[in-house]
Structure formats: C-alpha cells, structure tokens
C-alpha cells in the first residue's frame, strides 16, 4: 500500500439475502480530500460506506467477502481482522447519515456523547472539545446560550451540523457521509460544504452524493458505482 493511499479495498463483494449489491470491487481512496461516490439507487453506495466502519454487520442476511485495509496513524489495519475492536474502529472512522439523528438528549450531551462512550471523564477536557467541535461546524454561536436544550428542538440543518460535530468530536481520521445534505435547506447546505472543504485538508472524507454540481464543487475524486 503506497503512502498516499488511505483506504484500499480488494475484491469486495456484498450480498443481502443472496442479492448481490457489490460485485468484486477493487479500489483505493487517497489520503485526505473528498471522494464522492455517485451512481443510481440500489447500487450499494450506502453499503460501501458501511463496509468501512463495519456498520452493516448487524443487518440480518448480509454477507461480505473481500478485504479492506486502512492506513491509520498507528499502522495499516485490516479492519476485518478479529483483533480489531469495533469501538476503536468507529472512533477512527466517523459517520454521518442522510437524515439527522441527534439522540434524545441535550445539545451539549449529544456532542459530548462519544467522549463519554470513550470513557473520557475530565469535565474541562469535555467542555473544551465540545466547544471546538461545535465551532468547527459553525454551530457554536447559534447554540452556546442553549446548550442544555433538547437537540431535537434544533432546525433540520442545525441538527445535521450537530451530528457532524458529534462525529468530529473524537477527531476521526476517516469521515463517511451518506448524502449529508439531501434533506437540508440551501443555507445549511452551503455551510456544510464550507465545513467539508475545511475538513478535507487533514481528513479522508468519503461522501455519497446524488448532486453532480455538489460533487464538482467540493470533491477531489469521484467514483461512480453502476
């Protein structure tokens, strides 16, 4: 695996109840920058994302073959190696979904949630990292006076930026985005695009997108699944 390659996929095939959605895919994703995955519905775009953080594993009837290597800062890791712990992998590979899914708790707790899961207890550390993550997603100024309000009271665009902040608070090396702007208004959309352009400098972002103009605006490489 060359140094500039972050993720290497070899012979990846994926089945849902014997229906093949991905057929022996081999590809590489470069380190840092945005790779857009495009293609018609049902071609396994979301599935491909979920093979990178193993989120598909609880889906009944799903079977995967092939190999996925990710060059993490520590070492190159075969993420399906039985010794790889899922919490560790998912802290390194964050994910944001198509529909914003804030948890039924306050804005602050939502953002701090991954830190709590990771066992970080020092309050000043948590407060600082929550603030940083919310600033990064341009949300801090909008919510700093109501951090204790239920996150579900935010607008759709704010909720999605909160989910971004939540995914970023653990500083993942890889960020998976499944059509993150499809349910958003133009203002939130441009905010998220600005955020992604900023993030891609030192992070590998894989994004499923249906919008070709968006892909042209912010993506560095494109991969069409057909």
């Amino acid at each position: 695996m060359e140094p500039s390659v972050k993720i290497s996929i070899r012979e990846l095939s994926f089945f849902y109840h014997r229906t093949q959605v991905i057929d022996s895919l081999t590809c590489r994703f470069r380190e840092n920058g945005i790779t857009a995955i495009t293609g018609p519905s049902g071609k396994g775009k979301t599935t491909l994302l979920m093979t990178l953080n193993r989120l598909w594993e609880d889906t009944p009837g799903a079977v995967m073959t092939g190999e996925i290597l990710i060059r993490f800062k520590e070492r190159v890791t075969n993420i399906y190696d039985p010794r790889v712990s899922l919490p560790w992998l998912r802290k390194k590979v964050g994910m944001v979904f198509q529909t914003p899914n804030p948890l039924p708790m306050s804005i602050y707790k939502n953002t701090a949630f991954p830190l709590m899961l990771a066992g970080i207890k020092e309050k000043p550390v948590i407060e600082e990292r929550v603030r940083q993550a919310l600033e990064m997603t341009f949300l801090w100024d909008e919510v700093k006076s109501r951090l204790n309000r239920d996150a579900r009271t935010l607008s759709g665009g704010q909720q999605q930026r909160l989910c971004m902040a939540r995914a970023l608070v653990l500083d993942p090396e890889v960020l998976l985005l499944d059509e993150p702007t499809s349910s958003l208004d133009p203002r939130s959309l441009s905010m998220i695009e600005a955020l992604l352009t900023h993030l891609k400098k030192d992070r590998t972002i894989i994004m499923v997108s249906h919008y070709l103009d968006q892909v042209k605006r912010i993506a560095d490489q494109m991969m069409a699944l057909s």
């Binding site: 953080n53 989120l55 609880d58 899922l86 919490p87 560790w88 992998l89 998912r90 802290k91 964050g94 994910m95 979904f97 529909t99 899914n101 804030p102 948890l103 039924p104 708790m105 949630f113 991954p114 709590m116 899961l117 990771a118 989910c163 939540r166 995914a167 653990l170």
Partner: protein
C-alpha cells in the same frame, strides 16, 4: 344508516356498556354489602385494628400489611431479573437465543398459578424452612419469590416491547459512534423507555396484589401483621377466599367486603397509573 349497521352498532355499544357496568357494579355491590360497617362508624377501626375474633375485633390491618409487603417484595425481586431478561431478549441477543427466551416467557404467562403454588409447597417452602430454621417455610419470602416468578413474564414482555420501540436512528447513531451494546442500553434505550418500564412495574404490582392462589397456598395463613420475611401472613385475597364466616349477618362476614373494596382500590390505583403512563406515551409519539 342501514338496519344492519344500526344493529351492529347497538351490539357493540351493549358489549362496551356491559363490561363497564360489571366493573362498576362489582364495586357498588361490595360497597352496599359493606355499608353497615360504614354506618356503624367501624370503617377506620376495621382498617387499623388486628384480627382477633375471640375479642370481637375483626380489623383487617394484618391482611392489608401482608398484601402490601408481599406484593412490593415480589415486584422488588422480579424487577432486576425482568429488566435483565428483557434487555437480553430485545437488546443484547435479539436473534435466535432472544426469540427462544421470549417464547418461553410467553409460555410462562399461561402456567396456572396453582402450579406455582405446588412448587412452592413442595420445593421452595422446605428450602426456606431449612435456611430460616424456623416455622413451616410458608412465609412472606416464599410467597414473594413465587409471586415474583408469576409476575415476571408480564414485566419482561412489557419491558421488552418498550425497549423495542426505540427509533432505529438512535441505535444507529450509537453504533456508528463506537458505543457497545451495554452502553447503548444504559445511555439511550433505558432513559427513553422509562415510561414503559414503570407501566410494566405497576401492572405487575397489580397482578401481585390480586393473586390469590399463591397467597392462599404458601403465604402461611397467619392472621398477624408480619414482622419479618420469615413470618407467615394472610393477604386480603386469601382472607376473602377462606370465606370463614357462616353467619351472613356477622361482622366477620361483612368485613370480607371491606377486604374486597381495599383490594379493588389498590388494583384500581395501579391500573389508573398505567393508564396515565400509557396516555403520556401516546402524546409523545405525536
């Protein structure tokens, strides 16, 4: 409206009316028969005095205390077990193993209570007797353990259906953030389903209060206020089931209706609480 529709509507109305009327009618029946007690101003005395027929004292305080201690203790025993079992079935292992356990729990709801009574008399009571080193082993603890087994399926099924109403998006979010199954349960599922959990506890409490067979067979039948776990007791239900008096005009007999009313009120309270909780849940869903 066609004739058929009118007939169907009236039949349905009649059925609904009958069920409501019977519930209310039973209470009125008990109230009327217990009326002499109220009239004679004996009501409060009855609730607070001991049961000593030879001294002409027919108070039901021991029975009320027995019912309350027995039912609360059984719910206390059943709660952690049911919570763990429901978490296993719905969260930790929802696959084959979970489905198997759930179907076994479903079967448990159909076991006649007298079977539990048998197990109590022949298995559990001797064991409790050996451990406590006194009495017959028929006591509050034995009955509470059996009642806990009796009410746990209700709890497990209600808990697990509450756990399963968690929106998929929440679970996905925790998974994607690297949360373990246990973290998912503690931080997201449990806080989100506390209403269902409380409803399960309350409904089980109602069942435990109303159960007669176990109370009758293994609680020990002593008409004294229980002071320890190993004391025998006679809850309200089993007191009524004994139907001790032969003289319909005696105080001994009239008191049974007071027992009935007390039981009725206890179960009414728990059912009312469940109603309030579940109506709150509906509002939240909207």
């Amino acid at each position: 409206m066609s004739l058929r529709a009118v007939i169907v509507k009236n039949i349905l109305f009649f059925s609904a009316f009958i069920s409501a009327a019977v519930t209310l009618g039973i209470f009125v029946f008990m109230a009327v028969l217990g009326l002499p007690l109220f009239r004679e101003g004996l009501f409060l005395d009855m609730l607070s005095q001991p049961w000593m027929p030879h001294k002409n004292s027919y108070g039901i305080r021991p029975m009320i205390l027995s019912t309350l201690s027995l039912s609360f203790l059984s719910v206390l025993i059943a709660f952690p077990l049911s919570l763990g079992c429901a978490a296993f079935v719905s969260v930790i292992s929802p696959g084959k193993a979970g489905r198997f356990v759930k179907s076994m729990v479903g079967l448990m709801t159909g076991v006649p209570t007298v079977i539990y009574g048998f197990i109590g008399v022949f298995l559990l009571a001797p064991l409790v007797r050996d451990i406590s080193g006194r009495g017959s082993g028929m006591c509050i603890l034995t009955a509470a353990i059996l009642l806990a087994i009796l009410v746990s399926p209700t709890m497990i099924l209600l808990f697990s259906s509450a756990f399963e109403t968690i929106p998929e998006g929440y679970l996905r979010a925790v998974d994607a953030l690297g949360g373990s199954t246990v973290q998912k349960f503690i931080y997201v599922i449990l806080p989100h389903s506390w209403k269902g959990v409380l409803a399960g506890v309350t409904l089980s409490l109602g069942r435990a209060i109303g159960d007669t067979m176990i109370a009758l067979m293994v609680a020990g039948n002593a008409v004294a206020s229980p002071a320890s776990l190993f004391d025998p007791a006679r809850p309200l239900t089993s007191h009524i089931a004994h139907l001790i008096a032969a003289d319909f005009n005696s105080l001994e007999f009239k008191v049974l209706f007071l027992c009935g009313m007390a039981l009725y009120l206890f179960t009414l309270l728990s059912a009312g609480l469940v109603n309030i909780l579940s109506s709150g849940k509906k509002k939240e869903a909207l």
